[in-house]
């Protein structure tokens, strides 16, 4: 049987996850990943990788739940296995705190993380400027380890890789600092998304910023000062921590992630094109679930009749 050629554009966490899903599930497909940037230069490589979704306005809730649950379960199986340290995937517990009580105290993903509960009064005492908090255990997936691990898996089933420039999306600039503070074990995130402390394998990521349409990849010193000030207020022990380096990433911003398929008319043929991009700050969080969704769309488009080409 003639093999179907599938091209995956992008080798970040979503691209590689999609490529692995297709290559491992559809033996009649030969998959090639084409990208400009590979680990350690993708956006995900700098991200802390904490699995924590946000609610998108235009995507049915059931679909968003499925995206997150499938990503979580997939990574949990890795965290629970001997591969955990190779893949850079492990459990992380912590707090999300709010200066004002949010309208949605129990978000849709609360059932999928572990042990979701509201913080007790004693726990809130540490954060006098915050009125409400949630405590839970989720997963942390460090792309610096995970992407090479995924690539190995991809190549093991015959996947191919090509280095070439790809498309651009509108950026949401984010800056973080990597600090040495190995005594920190629990994450703390302000519900406004702008201040967070995520303890990692060899360093703690503290952040952050959310600057739409900002393409600057250079470190901004004022941003660093702001981050340090806000994070030290939440976690005083950070005052003595050594800053290892600063990093800037451009989140692929979009109102909603685009996971859908269409047909391109190319050289007299209808070629299926599956989109799986625009995950904003939820790339790692939704990587596997949207990859599985993209796989489904690919399967559909390979077996259904494409619309008649307009002449």
């Amino acid at each position: 049987m003639k093999r179907v050629k599938v091209l995956v554009v992008g080798a970040g966490v979503v691209g590689l996850s999609t490529a692995v899903c297709v290559a491992e599930t559809l033996p009649y497909c030969s998959v090639t990943v084409i990208a400009e940037k590979f680990s350690p230069d993708t956006t995900g490589d700098g991200a802390a990788g904490i699995l924590l979704p946000k609610e998108f306005p235009d995507i049915p809730l059931e679909r968003q739940k499925r995206w997150f649950k499938e990503s979580f379960d997939h990574l949990l199986a890795i965290a629970d296995s001997p591969q955990a340290s190779d893949a850079g995937v492990y459990l992380s517990s912590g707090y999300q705190i709010f200066k004002d009580i949010p309208s949605d105290k129990k978000p849709f993903w609360s059932d999928f993380v572990f042990g979701f509960r509201y913080m007790t009064d004693r726990e809130m005492k540490r954060f006098p400027n915050h009125k409400f908090g949630q405590a839970f255990t989720t997963i942390k997936c460090e792309c610096l380890n995970y992407l090479p691990w995924l690539e190995k898996r991809f190549r093991a089933v015959g996947g191919q890789i090509i280095h070439e420039k790809d498309e651009e999306v509108y950026p949401i600039r984010g800056q973080i600092l990597k600090v040495s503070a190995p005594w920190l074990k629990n994450f703390i995130r302000d519900g406004d998304g702008n201040t967070y402390i995520y303890p990692g394998i060899r360093y703690v990521s503290i952040g952050g910023t959310r600057q739409a349409e900002d393409w600057r990849l250079e470190v901004d010193k004022e941003d660093s000062e702001g981050i340090l000030e806000r994070c030290c207020r939440l976690e005083p022990s950070l005052r003595g921590a050594q800053v290892m380096c600063e990093w800037v990433g451009l989140r692929p911003g979009r109102a909603n992630p685009r996971v859908e398929h269409e047909y391109l008319h190319l050289q007299g043929r209808q070629v299926p094109l599956v989109h799986n991009y625009g995950h904003g700050g939820c790339g790692v969080t939704l990587s596997w679930g949207t990859a599985l969704d993209a796989l489904d769309l690919l399967r559909q488009s390979l077996f259904e009749k494409p619309p008649q080409a307009r002449l």
Binding site: L76, A79, D80, S81, P82, Q83, A84, S85, D86, G88, Y90, L91, S92, S93, F114, G115, R117, M119, T120, R122, E123, R126, A135, T137, P182, W183, L184, K185, N186, P199, I201, R202, P236, S237, R239, G240
Partner: protein
Amino acid sequence: MIQNTQLADMRVCIIGAGVIGLSTAQSIYQHFHSRISPLTIEVYADVFTPLTTSDGAAGLWQPYLYDKGNVQETKWNKETFDYLLSCLSSPDSVKMGIFLQSGYNLCPEPLPDPSFKNAVLGFRQLTKRELDMFPGYSFGWFNTALMIEGKTYLPWLMDWLRQRKVKFYQRKIGSFKELADSGADVIINCSGVRSGDLQPDPELQPARGQIIKVDAPWLKHWILTHDSSSGVYNSPYIIPGSRLVTVGGVFQVGNWNLQNSSVDHKNIWEAACKLEPSLQHARIVEDWTGLRPARSKVRLERETIRSGPTSFEVIHNYGHGGFGLTIHRGCAEEAARLFGQILEQKVLLAHSKSRL
């Protein structure tokens, strides 16, 4: 109330420089240095940090599951937790070796709530999904507790004491009398597992523990397992520290052997890897053996010892088993309270003598 003018020149000699000895020195200084002048505090020990039992412990604040009626101990444990929690926000917290860490207590069958459920933060039962991660365990709890690393805390305490003119002497004390004869007014016995050398105590026994220190920085939770048939700490535990992860455990009562055992190493390692598969890829750094000062309950009380025509006061503060770091502050404060009682009696004695 004791006034400055009534008591001068008190000399307090503390035997032992583990967490119990040093924290007792601290509490006595804090409560009495402004009330007694001069107050001389001396610490005598044959081993200091990093060679004490406290230095090898993983440093997780957690008492045994049940206090068996020793409600005082539950109170002292909670007092210690609250004290350490208050230190967290101080600029010294990192230098003290204190930080928060969450984790799992796993049991093979349902058990009553533990003594520490109200002391720790966010105590709750484990959900079924969480228990699915740990085959063989069908019940358990999750909470956030404190870590207090002896290797950091003890040097911090010694610095704190040195700045306040407490003196340290490296010397094995042969008997209480030896110190009393040299002029000690009060002796505080914090000699841990070797208290029996100073005064026989059949209730005190070593409970040997061996641990393996590994490099596994992706682990961010402590995991303790409980097995009522094998007994406390004779079941695997994994406790990440600020640099390395401590893997245990054994609890061998009556075993004085300070050498690492390869049999224990193998058993500990196999059980821990079953509990946490990712450990298989961790780099093993070293083994360590320590002797917990096990006793049916902590001995924290006064004793007046006659020596010929005179007598001297001893405060015993030993027998903290595997929970020395967990209970240290509560016991130190209680020892300071007992010290206060001794002072009251001396004041009364001085009064009655002056009336003759």
